[in-house]
Amino acid sequence: MNERDLKEKAQILDDKGMRRALVRIAHEIIERNKGVENVALIGVRRRGVPLAQRLAKYISDIEGTTVPVGILDITLYRDDLTTLANQPQVHQTEVKFPVTGKKLVLVDDVLYTGRTVRAALDAIMDLGRPEVVQLAVLIDRGHREIPIRADYVGKNVPTSRKEVISVRLTEIDGEERVVILEGTE
């Protein structure tokens, strides 16, 4: 499905709403982990990466401590490779710190079926043995296909499977908002 063939149905968050949600998540990460000692963020390509960087900035603003940010590409861990028509492009995983013993917060834009998170967890375990792994998402839209839940959620959005949630970030899309798209047929 191509996003260009879809029409916008509703806006869920604007730039201010996104900022508030992320700042709140930053506070929650600090609270839940009693500070940020040993905490590291891992952004899942593609839109999890700028979100993780922003969370790191907000955490640094609040606590005065910089937490490391890594980038995870989960392509090689996808469970649908044998069913796709073409091999998706692989991008680099850049986790420059040892994950063993760390409190990792996995960051992604949308939590849907849970399969991406499953792949990301496998990818992380291949890098080492973290103490804990938590999950932060900007949008939880439901429809899980495997037993996975998020520890930090920006906004819960009940959706139908026909709809598409599009998170648009300045770094990638040149605008800052979250919208629901729907087919035009």
Binding site: D73, L76, Y77, L81, T82, T83, L84, A85, N86, Q87, Q89, V90, H91, Q92, T93, E94, D122, A123, D126, L127, G128
Partner: protein, 312 residues
């Protein structure tokens, strides 16, 4: 851009975009080789056969490790010690492997064109790991990956390939690939070891090594293939070494940051001086690491879905 070919037979057929896709895919693969746990589940349940009708250590182990790092199952077959020694034809061997459910066949064969023939006979993906004096595409891709990693890009670079060009499938694949990517390729060696048609491939031909090395960014030193030198094409190894061997003094003619490459195995003291081979400009060991990364990339791309249908 997606990979669409069933096989990798040579660089002659590939577009610059396809070459870039392979090289780009090899970058994340290299990161995996640097991990403690060198394994991803990507090719779980896929099977790769290495079918070698000629001797090889590095190409074969490189392919087998590449497949294992991506969780594919591998089987190694050599011409000696298999049904080939009993006279089974290449086509029948291919069909037998297909019947066993093989997804990728990596083949080295002494006859030019053997990989293309096999690719037409079987539905599995075929990777040419060297066919006669024709092509050795994965070696050229790993050479290009190494150059690109060190120099940032291939376009505009001057690359000298030194040695036995006539018998070298490595040279042919490198010429096809590098010229497509916008590099200038110079070849130099004894006149008897320079094929007459090499200029038509886009390479500049030199007979004096000093002239060829002038200002180059990369020197790719080929192995003198002792097993193919029984026809008296040059008088002696000593003379070859004196006229074409790459030593410290000749290196001064190149660009100051020129890379020294060699596809291996080296005849140290013949085509390359040990000082140069182990010197700080040598990237010979990195080539070996990069070889695994490039082959992982190819195995990944070639095991894609039903859309990998362009056969040649």
């Amino acid at each position: 851009m997606f990979w669409q070919r069933k096989d990798l037979l040579g660089l002659r057929q590939l577009t610059p975009e396809e070459i870039n896709l392979v090289l780009d895919t090899a970058v994340p693969m290299k990161e995996i080789i640097g991990r403690k746990i060198k394994k991803t589940p990507t090719l779980r349940g896929r099977s790769v056969v290495t079918l070698f009708y000629e001797n090889s250590t590095r190409t074969r182990s490189s392919f087998e490790l590449a497949a294992k790092f991506l969780s594919a199952d591998t089987v190694g077959l050599s011409a000696s010690g298999s049904s080939v020694a009993k006279g089974e034809s290449l086509r029948d061997t291919g069909l037998t492997l297909t019947a066993m459910g093989v997804d990728v066949v990596v083949m080295r064969h002494p006859a030019s064109g053997a990989a293309e023939y096999l690719a037409r006979c079987i539905p599995a993906a075929v990777i040419n790991a060297g066919d006669g004096t024709h092509e050795h595409p994965t070696q050229a891709l790993l050479d290009m990956f190494t150059i690109r990693e060190k120099k940032g890009s291939l376009a505009g670079l001057k690359v000298a390939i030194v040695g036995d060009i006539l018998h070298s499938r490595v040279a042919r694949s490198n010429i096809w690939g590098l010229t497509k990517m916008g590099a200038e390729v110079r070849v130099v060696g004894p006149a008897t070891l320079l094929p007459p048609d090499i200029e038509q491939m886009g390479a500049r031909v030199y007979t004096e090594v000093e002239a060829a090395l002038e200002g180059v960014d990369v020197v790719n030193v080929l192995r003198i293939q002792l097993e193919r030198q029984q026809q008296g094409l040059f008088p002696s190894l000593r003379e070859y070494s004196r006229l074409f061997g790459i030593n410290q003094k000749r290196l001064e003619l190149t660009a100051p940051d020129a890379l020294i490459m060699h596809p291996g195995p080296m005849n140290r003291g013949v085509e390359i001086d040990p000082q140069v081979a182990y010197g700080n400009r040598s990237v010979i060991n990195e080539q070996v690491t990069n070889g695994v990364a490039v082959r992982m990339a190819l195995l990944y791309l070639l095991t894609g879905g039903e859309h990998n249908a362009i056969s040649h």
